[in-house]
């Protein structure tokens, strides 16, 4: 069952140059891209830098509007969707864990803010624990933190007191507070050490099965995609060049770009 459809998405960014900042050209970031994401699957969007994958992610997230084309959720266009409604469907984890959290607010403030939003209508479906609004919101925050492998103590601390991996976990907790159906992860591992990458990937796998999440996973590393994805879509310069399961694309890649990405994975001695 198709959960999300990206239909004929095109997006161009103007290049400004010269002293008067005239528009001297365009960078076509996405050219008529159409991709489907099925319910419950992990779709990996793979490509080198500049291929348009982050732009596409932001369009699906609602942070950018496409020049043409549309994003459909269960058949319905998301362009008419209010921000609050979209927030309960799609959430995002960003690449830089050091910029994903507001440095001036405590972890608790940032989580509570989202939990509070989750509890207001239209569909405040979060289960509450304990009596009293504030107490139960706090309990929900603690639950969220524990579900990503952190303790409730984190609530009173500030982001700078945490490592990159821990900050990424907090960002994940925040994203999950609204109980989204689709989680977009924009190169969530790139800024982390390999050992931490492995831990966060394991966390994603665990959350995917317990919460029945659908993932749109953006990465430039085919090895990471191979580890986690059900399907892989390869993007090059704003166009889809190959699509398939890890078994097909990694074993018998059809497009030379896919082959280049495959070669780029550091070879390990046998």
């Amino acid at each position: 069952m198709t959960l999300l459809e990206m239909k004929n998405i095109s997006k161009a960014f103007p290049i400004e140059g010269g002293i008067f900042r005239k528009r001297i050209g365009f960078v076509q970031a996405l050219k008529d891209v159409s991709i489907d994401v099925r319910k419950g699957e992990t779709l990996a969007l793979v490509g080198g830098s500049g291929c348009g994958k982050s732009t596409l992610a932001r369009i699906v997230a609602g942070l950018l509007t496409p020049d043409s084309g549309d994003v459909l959720w269960e058949g319905r266009s998301l362009s008419t969707c209010a921000r609050q409604e979209r927030a309960r469907l799609i959430q995002m984890i960003f690449q830089d864990p050091y910029a994903s959290l507001n440095p001036k607010l405590s972890v608790g403030t940032q989580l509570m803010e989202v939990v509070r939003l989750a509890l207001t209508p239209p569909s405040g479906t979060l289960s509450l624990k304990g009596e009293g609004k504030a107490g139960s919101m706090r309990a929900t925050c603690v639950d969220l933190l524990e579900s990503v492998g952190l303790s409730g103590d984190a609530l009173s601390h500030y982001p700078f007191q945490f490592s990159g991996g821990q900050r990424q976990r907090i960002a994940i907790a925040r994203a999950l507070a609204l109980q989204p159906r689709l989680l977009i992860a924009d190169e969530p591992l790139s800024a982390l050490d390999v050992t931490v990458q492995a831990q966060i990937l394991a966390l994603f796998k665990g959350l995917k099965s317990t919460l029945d999440l659908t993932f749109l996973f953006i990465t430039h590393d085919l090895a990471v995609a191979a580890n986690f994805a059900d399907r892989i879509v390869v993007l090059k310069e704003g166009e889809v060049v190959e699509e398939g399961t890890p078994a097909t694309t990694l074993v018998a890649p059809k497009h030379p770009y896919t082959r280049a990405l495959l070669d780029a994975v550091p070879a390990l001695p046998r």
Partner: protein, 261 residues
Amino acid sequence: MLSIEKLNVEYYRGGKTISAVRDFSLAINAGESVGLVGESGSGKSTVALSILRLIRPQEGHIVSGKIQFQGQDLLSLPPENMRDIRCRKIAMIFQDPFTSLNPVMRIREQMDEVLKAHPSLSASPSRLVEALEQVQLESTRVLNSYPHQLSGGQRQRVMIAIALLGQPSLILADEPTTALDVLVQKEILGVLFSLQKKLGLAMLFITHNLGLVTTYTHRIAVMKEGRLVEEGPSQAVFRQPSEAYTRQLLEAIPRLGRSTG
């Protein structure tokens, strides 16, 4: 060529003194490439900065230990000799190609600066062209460009070219590919290691990814929390790690052959 003996380095952070490197010893022979692997905070970058004595007095200091380079004790050298070492004998390549180059100067000017700073180097334009050709960059265009007009991979190649200007015998590469995507990473690793072989340079390659260095380097040294945990020929360490921590690092490497979750 380079021998580090029982190095101890401390940093000052928030009023406290933290031990970043503890009793670290490592030797690098001429023409050999050694991979220094460890997680963030393991002290690997500190080792490189200590060799070149680039740690600022307000940030930290080398407590004890010896660093011998080609017979000279680096830690007791006077500043002018140290400057000479930094350009002509040992060169360093940093992680972030976006901030390692001055954004308001053209590449030609930045490379010229390096040549002018060392009177023993001839400041001829042909040297710049040669240096860039070594890293397979088209010299006329690149020399006239500003850093922001070049891609991340091109910038890192420029950094390598600058490092080679002084014709050093040892290169310290501190996570040079961490900020680049896989395709560019492969290119840069190719350029770096082929130059290393061709010019017979010794190299210390620092990374958090054990997988990167296994096929490229002769030896691997693993660091954890400031200490050397394991060391040996790359193939041997990879196939038969003797330490649990090394095994952990190996496990963490994302591999293509794994089944999907």
